[in-house]
C-alpha cells in the first residue's frame, strides 16, 4: 500500500475537524475525497503532508511511519501537494515557479554555487530540463515566461500541478485543483489528472465537480463532519443512500 491512514484525527479546540479516518491509497490509482464544505478534506491533506500534527492515529507512506514528519520531509519522501487556493509565486514566471519545485531535489550548496562546480552546472541544466518537461506535460510550456499573476486561472492551476510534479512525487495531493476553472475546460483538466498515474504518480484528490470525480476516481472516500461516511467505487458511492441523503443530493441543488 502506498499510503495507509489509520484512525486519524485532528481536534481544533472543541471541534473534531477530522475524526477516526481510515484510508488506503493504492499505487497507480486516483483516490478521491468528497464531502460538503467544512467536512475536513483540506485538514486531512494537511495532516498527511505534515502541516498539522494529528491528535490521533497514524499515517504511513510506503510502509514508513510519517505521522510526525514535517512537510519538508514529506516532499522529500515523495508526497507533493497543491493548495485549495492556487498558491504560486505571483511575481515570478511560470518557469521560475516550477523551478522552485526542484529545490527539494537539488543537492548543490552555497559552495557549489560560489565555485560553479560541475555538480552545480549539471544540476542547473537538469533542473531546467525537468521543469520544462513538467510545464510541457501540464500543457502550459508556452506561458513559461509569463508572470504567474498574469496568466488565466486555468493556466495557474496547471502550473501548480507542474510545480508539484517537479518535486518528483510518488503521490500527489490535489486540493480542488479544478476550482475556478470554467466548466468547458474541466474535461481537459481531468485528462491531465488522469494521465498522472501513467507517470508513476498516484493521486489523492479533493474536488467539488462531481462529474469529474465520478469520471476520474478509482475509489472515493466520503467525509462528513470529519468522519468517514462511506468509501467505495464511484458506482457504489452514487447508489449509497447515506451519501445521497447527506451530500450528493444537496450538492446538485447547490450547483444550480
Amino acid at each position: 500500500m502506498l499510503l495507509e491512514i489509520r484512525g486519524l484525527g485532528k481536534r481544533f479546540g472543541g471541534l473534531d475537524a477530522v475524526k477516526n479516518v481510515d484510508l488506503d491509497v493504492q499505487e497507480g490509482q486516483i483516490t478521491a475525497v468528497i464531502g460538503p464544505n467544512g467536512a475536513g478534506k483540506s485538514t486531512l491533506f494537511n495532516l498527511i503532508h505534515g502541516f498539522y500534527r494529528p491528535t490521533a492515529g497514524t499515517v504511513s507512506f510506503n510502509g514508513r511511519d510519517i505521522t510526525q514528519s514535517s512537510p519538508h520531509s514529506s516532499v522529500n519522501g515523495g508526497i507533493a501537494r497543491t493548495f485549495q487556493t492556487t498558491h504560486l509565486f505571483d511575481d515570478s514566471t511560470l518557469l521560475e515557479n516550477v523551478l522552485a519545485g526542484r529545490i527539494v531535489r537539488s543537492k548543490s550548496n552555497v559552495f557549489d554555487a560560489i565555485f560553479h562546480t560541475p555538480r552545480h552546472r549539471r544540476e542547473s541544466a537538469l533542473n531546467h530540463d525537468k521543469a520544462l518537461e513538467a510545464l510541457e506535460f501540464c500543457g502550459v510550456a508556452e506561458f513559461r515566461h509569463d508572470l504567474a499573476s498574469n496568466v488565466p486561472q486555468e493556466v495557474q492551476k496547471r502550473t501548480a500541478v507542474a510545480m508539484a510534479l517537479a518535486t518528483e512525487p510518488e503521490l500527489m495531493l490535489l486540493d480542488e485543483p479544478a476550482g475556478g476553472i470554467p466548466e468547458e475546460e474541466t474535461t481537459d483538466f481531468g485528462n491531465l489528472i488522469r494521465s498522472l498515474p501513467s507517470r508513476g504518480v498516484s493521486v489523492l484528490l479533493v474536488e467539488h465537480k462531481m462529474s469529474m470525480i465520478m469520471d476520474l476516481a478509482d475509489t472515493i472516500l466520503v467525509l462528513d463532519h470529519g468522519q468517514k461516511l462511506a468509501i467505495g467505487s464511484p458506482a457504489e458511492i452514487q447508489s449509497n443512500p447515506d451519501v445521497i441523503r447527506a451530500y450528493l443530493g444537496s450538492t446538485k441543488d447547490e450547483e444550480n
Binding site: 464544505n37 515570478s92 537539488s106 531546467h128 521543469a131 506561458f143
Partner: protein
C-alpha cells in the same frame, strides 16, 4: 560571453569599476579615502543584511551588533592581546558567525515583527555589553591604535589607498558570493521563503534550517565589515555597535534595493555621500534625508537598483511579447486577457468555499509593474 549582454551585470560591473578608480581621483586626500573605505566596510555588512532581509525576507535588526562584535574582536585582540590583525580578524569573523548562528536558534522561533523586535533586542544587548563592560571593552574610552593588517614588506596597509584596495577586494568577494547565491538554487530557496513560507514548506523547502543559515551568513558578513572597519579607522567606540548603526544599514539597503546584487553597494555609497554632504548639519541631516528616503520608499519601493532592474525586465518581456506576435502565437493575447479579469466561475467558487480560503485573487493589474525582483536564477536563462 552571454553574461556581458546582461544589462544587470554590466551595470554592476560599471559601479564596481567606478569605485575601483576612486583612488585615482582622491588618492592624495586621506580623509576622502577613509570615508570611502569606511563606506565599503558598511557595504559589506549591508550585504549580510541583504541575505537575511533582501533574500529571505526576515527583518533582522541585529546587524549593527554583529558589526560591533567584529570590530571589537579585532580591536581588543590586536591591542590588549597584541595578536596580529589576521588572527584577530579570523577569530572575529568566525566568532560573529557563531554568535549569529546561536542567537538565530532562538530569534527564528519568532516571526515577522516579533523577529524584528527580538533581533533588535539582540543588537541592543550587544551594544550594552560593549558600552558597559568596562574591564574588557574599556566602555566609552574605546579602543585605540587598532593594528593595520600585516603584510611583511609586500605592501603597507597604513597607506589609505592600499587599505582601500584590501577592503575593496573583500567587498568584491562579497558581491560575487551574493551574485552566486542569487543565481543558484540556494538563492531560489531563500526567495521562496521570502515570498511565502507556506508555499516554500509545501514544495519541500527546509524553511527553519534555511533561515538559520541565512541569519548566520548575515552575521558572517557583519563580522567581516566590522573587523575591517576597526582596522581602517584605528579607533573604535561603542557607537560602532549601536542600534543606530543597524538603522543606517537598513537605510542603505532600502535606498539601494533589497534582494539585488548591486543594491547594498549603491545604496551605501550614495547615502554615505549624502551624509558627508550634510555633515555640517549633523543632527539635522535626517530632516533632509528623511523626506528623500520616504519619497524613495513610496516611488521606488525596491530601491534604485530594484527600480532599474524592473525597467530592464519590462523591456525584456515586451520584446518577448513582441516576438510572439511576429510568430503568430496566441500567447500575448491570452496574457492580456488574463490581466485582472476574473473568470465567470470565480464568483461561484468564492460562494461555495466561503468557509475557507477560496477567495478570489487580488487585482493583478498593478502587480505587473512591481514584478522585477523575481526568483530569477541562471537555470532559466539558458
Amino acid at each position: 560571453m552571454s553574461a556581458l549582454k546582461n544589462p544587470r551585470i554590466i551595470g554592476t560591473l560599471a559601479v564596481l569599476l567606478i569605485i575601483a578608480l576612486t583612488p585615482v581621483a582622491f588618492g592624495d586626500e586621506n580623509y576622502i579615502m577613509r570615508v570611502i573605505t569606511v563606506g565599503l566596510c558598511s557595504a559589506i555588512a549591508v550585504y549580510g543584511m541583504n541575505i537575511i532581509l533582501g533574500f529571505t525576507g526576515q527583518l533582522s535588526l541585529a546587524q549593527g551588533g554583529f558589526f560591533g562584535i567584529g570590530a571589537y574582536t579585532v580591536g581588543l585582540l590586536t591591542t590588549d592581546f597584541d595578536w596580529s590583525f589576521w588572527q584577530a580578524f579570523l577569530v572575529g569573523v568566525v566568532g560573529t558567525s557563531a554568535i549569529g548562528y546561536l542567537s538565530g536558534l532562538i530569534a527564528l522561533r519568532t516571526k515577522d515583527e516579533y523577529f524584528a523586535i527580538f533581533t533588535m533586542a539582540i543588537g541592543f544587548i550587544i551594544y550594552l555589553t560593549i558600552s558597559r563592560w568596562e574591564a574588557v571593552t574599556h566602555a566609552h574610552s574605546g579602543v585605540n591604535n587598532v593594528k593595520f593588517p600585516e603584510a611583511g614588506d609586500i605592501v603597507d596597509f597604513s597607506n589609505p589607498t592600499v587599505m582601500f584596495y584590501l577592503v575593496f577586494i573583500i567587498l568584491l568577494i562579497c558581491v560575487y558570493i551574493t551574485y552566486a547565491i542569487r543565481r543558484s538554487s540556494v538563492g531560489r530557496t531563500l526567495l521562496t521563503i521570502r515570498t511565502s513560507e507556506d508555499l516554500a514548506d509545501a514544495i519541500g523547502v527546509n524553511v527553519g534550517l534555511s533561515k538559520q543559515l541565512a541569519f548566520a551568513a548575515s552575521a558572517f558578513f557583519g563580522g567581516i565589515g566590522g573587523g575591517l572597519y576597526a582596522s581602517v579607522v584605528g579607533f573604535i567606540g561603542p557607537d560602532a555597535a549601536t542600534v543606530d548603526k543597524t538603522f543606517e544599514f537598513l537605510m542603505f539597503i532600502l535606498v539601494g534595493g533589497m534582494g539585488t546584487v548591486a543594491g547594498p553597494l549603491v545604496g551605501t555609497m550614495i547615502v554615505t555621500f549624502l551624509f558627508e554632504l550634510f555633515q555640517d548639519f549633523q543632527a539635522y541631516r535626517f530632516i533632509v534625508l528623511g523626506p528623500i528616503i520616504i519619497a524613495l520608499v513610496i516611488f521606488a519601493p525596491r530601491g534604485i537598483v530594484g527600480y532599474l532592474g524592473g525597467f530592464i525586465d519590462k523591456r525584456a518581456r515586451n520584446r518577448r511579447i513582441g516576438s510572439a506576435h511576429k510568430d503568430g502565437t496566441a500567447q500575448s493575447h491570452s496574457t492580456a486577457e488574463a490581466n485582472g479579469t476574473a473568470t465567470p466561475d470565480d464568483s461561484v467558487r468564492a460562494d461555495n468555499t466561503a468557509d475557507s480560503d477560496g477567495s478570489t485573487r487580488p487585482g493583478t493589474a498593478e502587480r505587473r509593474e512591481t514584478a522585477a525582483d523575481t526568483i530569477t536564477t541562471e537555470d532559466e536563462e539558458k
